[in-house]
């Protein structure tokens, strides 16, 4: 039974890191994989608003909070940890993980690490790939094109993108499709997980009265996202050993 850590981040803000993290938590819940999540938007906590039962708010720049996460990987009952890294802190977090020897432990196969790098539309995202890839040699590295907030990736030259993509061994591309804007807004207002919204439930699991159409959009969108996670073999390749118990 090997603990697994998934880091979701980007150095740019507004690319939908928390949205992707929320889909991951929904996906694992749908597969009955117990997960603990860490929200690094201290002290506010965006992720915790949608997944309050599984999420703790931490400050990734504080050593005490780094210890809360990493030092408990082996002892915690829940073997899969998902960390939603605040904008601009992805590189910093990876540096910290390297410096504390966590990346070496991953290399020695004591832990499994997956990095979900959420890409933005600008060319600076491609520079981030080059920067981040230096840390993820022994991790599963996922490059996520997130279209939820209608990112069109318009200023990417496909040839340049391919050139960057090729540099990273075993990088896997993941696409999160666009969700209907009104549906997205309603979920924000409701403050529930995507799955709960689709199932017409409130945060406390009581029946809700969300629009049937918007729920339909969410259900359909979520099924596409889940299909993408199935395609990359998220359960088998990344967290399989964490849940093998």
């Amino acid at each position: 039974m090997k603990p697994a850590v998934i880091i979701v981040g980007a150095d740019k803000g507004g690319v939908g890191k928390t949205t992707v993290t929320r889909t991951l938590l929904d996906y694992f819940a749908a597969h009955s994989v117990l997960t603990r999540a860490f929200d690094t938007e201290a002290p506010r906590g965006t992720l915790k608003r949608f997944h309050p039962m599984t999420t703790e708010i931490v400050d990734m720049t504080a050593v005490s909070d780094q210890m809360r996460i990493i030092d408990t990987l082996n002892t915690a009952e829940v073997k899969l940890s998902v960390i939603d890294v605040r904008a601009g802190l992805l590189s910093t977090t990876l540096v910290a993980l390297r410096d504390m020897g966590f990346l070496d432990a991953v290399k020695e196969r004591q832990f499994t690490l997956g990095v979900f790098h959420i890409l933005g539309a600008s060319i600076s995202s491609l520079d981030e790939i080059a920067e981040t890839s230096g840390f993820v040699g022994d991790a599963s590295y996922y490059l996520v094109k997130n279209h939820v907030n209608e990112t069109s990736f318009f200023d990417w030259d496909p040839a340049i993108y391919k050139a960057y993509f090729k540099k990273i061994k075993d990088a896997v591309e993941v696409t999160v499709p666009k969700l209907n804007e009104m549906a997205f807004e309603q979920i924000e207002l409701a403050g529930v997980s995507f799955s709960s919204f689709a199932a017409n439930k409130r945060a406390n699991n009581d029946p809700a009265n969300y629009s049937f159409v918007l729920r339909g959009y969410v259900r359909n969108w979520l099924s596409h996202v889940f299909a993408e996670y199935d395609r990359i073999g998220l359960i088998n390749n990344l967290v399989g050993q964490a849940i093998a118990a």
């Binding site: 209907n180 804007e181 009104m182 549906a183 629009s211 049937f212 159409v213 918007l214 729920r215 339909g216 959009y217 259900r219 359909n220």
Partner: protein, 248 residues
Amino acid sequence: MKQRTFVYVACSSRRRAGTTLLARLLFDFLSIDDPTLTAFDTNVYEPTLSERLGGAAVGVDLATTIGQVTLFDRLILADQAPKVVDLWQRHFALFFSLIHEIGFVEELRRQAVELIILFLADADLASFEAIRNLRNGFPALTFVPVINEATARTAAVAGDARERLLAQFRYNIRIPALDPVLSLLIDGPGFSFSQFMRDYPGERSLSGQTTLYAWIRGIFNQFRDLHLRMTLHDLGRTLKKRPTGRAR
């Protein structure tokens, strides 16, 4: 047995096939027995149904999420109040794409709501092919071809071919051609089919009134027959599902 809610969608894949006329006829027919019914006009640029019904129809733009919510959130309600949708030809494909995407048909099954697609078909092969493809894509829905004999395209097609194609469907409706003068009358402002039936005989020429009365009555009888046959079919299915033997 829980009483079902009937939702009728008047539609066609072709322009000027007579969907608004069909929707008006249905609305007036249903309003005789049930004043709680609602009509939806999906043509926001030329809301003829709303105009004909004196604003009684709810206008919805299916190209917007607000419009989709306004329509489908109402259609899915199992409130036993019938609904009539006049589907704009330009949103014909969008409508079916949406009901697939949002899982509308699956939800219909859970609710006691019956969606009846009244498809104005020309009697040519292409038109019937379209409705057959739709039926294959949505086997849980009830498809009713409607032949509007007022359209020139329909009248020109050989009757035998049409009958063979119609025989492939459990139900069908025919709207006979109407004298052009009477067509002008029913398209006049404020004309109501149900009101005309209630007021008959009125002050207009007896011959014209009699013809129109017979025309409306013929169509209303088909609606009544359709409703009755669907109810009986549903009852038959329910009885088949029930266990027959007594528990010992």
